[in-house]
Subunit: 380 residues, 2 copies
């Protein structure tokens, strides 16, 4: 949702999302079953005859299937990773067939808590199950099969998307050529969970939450969503990035000694929170933070990540950013260590970018050059 | 508010708070005036004949005048810095006369937003003015004069208390022998302000806030206070301290795939938030976070902290803690640099404690030994 005007020359151009319905029930990690569901996706480029040039893009918390290009109905609604993906870009759509998908439980077109539960004829609401990274990989794999893709040349993602890319190589080691694991972590820390929990409590204690069934009440827990988003933004930016962007700059040049916006950072956070609360579904937010909390592939291996990766056979590009305090480079190094324990082919880059966690979305030349070189090296 | 049983041997014992009324109006930095006000304080030890052995303790966000000892009515209600202050302790009450005071605008006995506004006969609520560190120093100075203390042997504090100690040496350079500036900062960063702003928005958007006049409605914005406190706790602890204390430990040993407490850290935060929301006043919380945001002695000197400290003449003990990411050691070094620019007598210690910002409250032997040695070196 970038506000810049589209650059037509190296863009995939106007794109159209597609919905696909799956009738086969999906058994989830929680034990619950999705009886049927839709997934919304977009594709860019052309699948080659060998069906060997497909790349799957996994999205993080606030993103979707709309990865590149724009919509004819709204040319300013540019895909969230458009700087990376397009003709001649590091992920070159002249060569690759790129697939973006809105995850199950989302609020951008795929079946989620706001969708109608066929069993009741009313929105799923609180009854929508908790979904996990494993479940998303499973649903994405079904989409791949539907698209005739047996094996992805690469599965790529940042943050929560990186977790999905990593999980793909464990669940379907033969279906992933390379995984780009950018700004990821092998599991959340207690501090990460703590931030998620405050966000969830902000939402669930909003009187308009109604236990998750707010749709029926014609309201939305906007206060809670707004707070969750404000808090999220703090963790996405580094202290330095915030200092450089806002510092202690005053809105009016001098102290006003009141509770209106005083510092620019307050204005920014309120704006981001307000905006987010108008379009994002609170139940989706809750479930995505839970999927983050639950991600821990080592859990079923006594906490041993190397053991969890035993069956992996993909290549890996692991990237971290020095100023990322949400998923610090140390977290990426845990992944690299476990991959090396398994004698896997891994390239690791720690990029000294100042932007914090959000750096994985930025157009950093060293970052993009690395991805470009890696993508160019993929066999076809 | 320590739950441990009191150790009688080295405690100041049962203590009794005292209220003092000030009739002279106090002009605040905002331009507003407090027509009259009460301050609640406690003292430990005995003021000597020369009145030269007094130490003022300035409190941080969630603390009060109850610094050491316990209350006869509740022996488990131990002062917040009892590990530091008492007979034979680093701040030795056999030698020093220690004063703790609840700041103006507080909710532990001094005049604050919940107090009755004499002009209306109703609680001050939203009309209670914004107070600043400068205002607190001024009110504390009046209390000192009331107690017959012209000059403090030391003014000590951690975090927001450190800011008050520092401000004392600028406002009243001749009234402070030594300032202990522990886990402090010369001003908040944009990130610090951002966290405060999320906490404030949690409170002010709680439907029970009623624009700050909730007293009249017989309610309290507990949801907002609870969130503010949960968030605060994340910033007080280091990532490592949280990892060591809670890790990813599960409440029930296995994933439950729901929204009840799953991880121990969630349980801890909810408990802390719930507890806090039963006793702390939301309007006080708002004002204390604003006092933090506004503290910036260099502001009136073109951002030059060295210039702001030009008239200072006290000795300084500046202490920071390696794992403190709220006010990192770099922030303390800014203070030290400005003090050295003025050729002031300053000792700086960076203690490699794992506890994060809360380390200033802990019984770290190196930290306490340093304070002990410094206090012993004070002339009397």
């Amino acid at each position: 949702m970038n506000a810049a005007a589209p650059n037509i020359a190296d863009s995939v151009g106007a794109v159209t999302p597609v919905d696909v319905h799956f009738d086969a029930p999906l058994r989830l990690k929680s034990g619950a079953t999705m009886p049927q569901y839709d997934l919304r996706y977009e594709t860019y480029g052309t699948l080659n005859a060998q069906r060997s040039n497909a790349i799957l893009v996994c999205h993080a918390l606030n993103a979707s299937h709309h990865v590149a290009g724009w919509y004819a109905s709204d040319p300013r609604d540019i895909g969230w990773w458009d700087n990376l993906i397009g003709p001649g870009k590091p992920v070159d759509t002249n060569r690759f067939f790129v697939v973006g998908v809105n995850n199950l439980g989302g609020c951008h077109g795929s079946t989620g808590p706001a969708s109608v539960n066929p069993a009741t004829g009313r929105p799923w609401g609180a009854d929508f199950p908790v979904v996990t990274v494993d479940d998303w990989v499973e649903a994405q794999a079904r989409l791949a099969t539907h698209l005739g893709i047996e094996r992805f040349a690469a599965v790529i993602g940042g943050s929560l998307g990186a977790m999905q890319a990593l999980q793909w190589t464990m669940t379907y080691p033969d279906r992933v050529g390379l995984a780009l694991v950018s700004a990821g972590a092998p599991k959340l820390s207690a501090q990460n969970i703590a931030f998620n929990e405050v966000a969830r409590q902000a939402i669930t204690t909003d009187p308009d939450f109604h236990g998750g069934n707010y749709y029926e009440h014609g309201v939305v827990p906007r206060r809670g969503l707004r707070l969750a988003r404000m808090l999220g933004h703090i963790t996405y930016l580094s202290d330095d990035a915030m200092a450089e962007k806002f510092g202690r700059e005053l809105r009016g040049g001098e102290f006003k000694f009141g509770f209106d916006v005083e510092f620019e950072i307050e204005s920014y956070l309120r704006y981001q929170g307000d905006k987010f609360s108008t379009y994002f579904d609170a139940n989706t937010y809750l479930r995505i933070t839970k999927a983050l909390d639950y991600f821990d592939p080592a859990f079923e291996h006594g906490g041993n990540l190397s053991a969890a990766l035993k069956g992996a056979r993909s290549r890996y590009l692991v990237v971290s950013f020095t100023s990322d305090w949400r998923f610090s480079p140390a977290r990426s190094r845990e992944i690299v260590k476990a991959l090396l324990d398994n004698r896997l082919n891994v390239t690791y880059a720690e990029i000294d970018a100042p932007h914090g966690h959000d750096a994985f979305l930025m157009d950093d030349p060293r970052y993009h050059a690395l991805i470009r070189a890696t993508m160019e090296s993929l066999p076809q």
